[in-house]
Amino acid sequence: MGRFSNIVKGIIFMCVYIGTTMVIPFLTFTWVKEVQILGVAIVLTQHDYEKIIFWISAFGLLISTTAFFNYSSPKQSIRKGTFAMIQIILNCLYIWSYKFSGATEIRFEIVFEIANIGFISINVQNMVMLYMGVYFLTIILKGYDFFDFLLNRKTIREKRYKKMVGGNDSS
């Protein structure tokens, strides 16, 4: 692939990541902040709303930019492997930042007219743990890829630049 197509690919993926890691969570949390079910005003007492938005923006930015670097790099290159690994690690931190800002223990306070009826608390920490375990396996996989790219650099490059029958580059 040429340099132009690489950059375009990187920009497309950066936009996708901005959408999925920043815009959608931002809209979701803003919507969850004040939600009504069956006419009863269930106010989400999300004290750390601003904190969540901060961590979403911070890690979303880093993830999106590393995605740009990752997807604009040539296939099976060391820089791609490096940034793919960084991206996964940042993804873990991003997911964990939800807990950090109190999102893994969502507390819904039920307020009916003036009286406070009670609250519903959903603890999703166990699920986050499971998710983190899966991410751990993904990091191992990315680490393997990185070392594969590093150790088999010569053969990968030979394959990438393998001459075709007509004598043209296959890259």
Partner: protein
């Protein structure tokens, strides 16, 4: 219909719960390890009171670096060691072509010689046939001469 949908959702939920319960003892310790190191690492990250400036500047740096690096080295240039290999391959190909052409020339020459030899062999065969016929004629002539000599001797004797 709604009740059926609830049943269906319940079945799916049961399946997912079973999978999660099965994976939980294997994957959860890994998750715990991840959480431990991430809690340590996150302490060193700029906190909400510090603002987003650090993150934004890091993001800008990464994008600029990505642009510069991937424009300068897009990964479609052949590396140096492969160029040398190409040179050697080209030389080998040239030599192979040269030897092929010389071998072809030799083969052509040999074919020409073979054709000439075939022609000569045919001529020789024709000559052999001619010599055979001439020899036969000679033999006949010799017999005729003998006959004439005998006739002559007989006539001389009679006289």
């Amino acid at each position: 219909m709604i009740f059926q949908a609830v049943d269906f959702i319940q079945i799916i939920a049961n399946i997912v719960a079973a999978i999660l319960n099965f994976l939980n003892p294997i994957v959860s310790p890994m998750g715990e390890f991840m959480v431990n190191w991430m809690e340590v690492v996150l302490r060193f990250f700029p906190q909400p009171q510090d603002g987003l400036i650090v993150y934004v500047s890091i993001a800008i740096v990464i994008v600029i670096l990505g642009l510069i690096i991937n424009i300068t080295w897009p990964g479609n240039k052949r590396p140096g060691f492969l160029k040398k290999v190409d040179e050697v391959e080209d030389k080998v190909e040239e030599k192979i072509e040269e030897t092929e052409t010389s071998v072809k020339k030799k083969v052509k020459k040999a074919k020409k010689k073979a054709k000439d030899l075939e022609k000569k062999a045919d001529e020789l065969e024709e000559l052999e046939v001619e010599t055979d016929t001439l020899e036969e004629e000679l033999e006949e002539l010799e017999e005729d001469i003998k006959d004439i000599e005998e006739d002559l001797e007989e006539t001389i004797d009679e006289e």
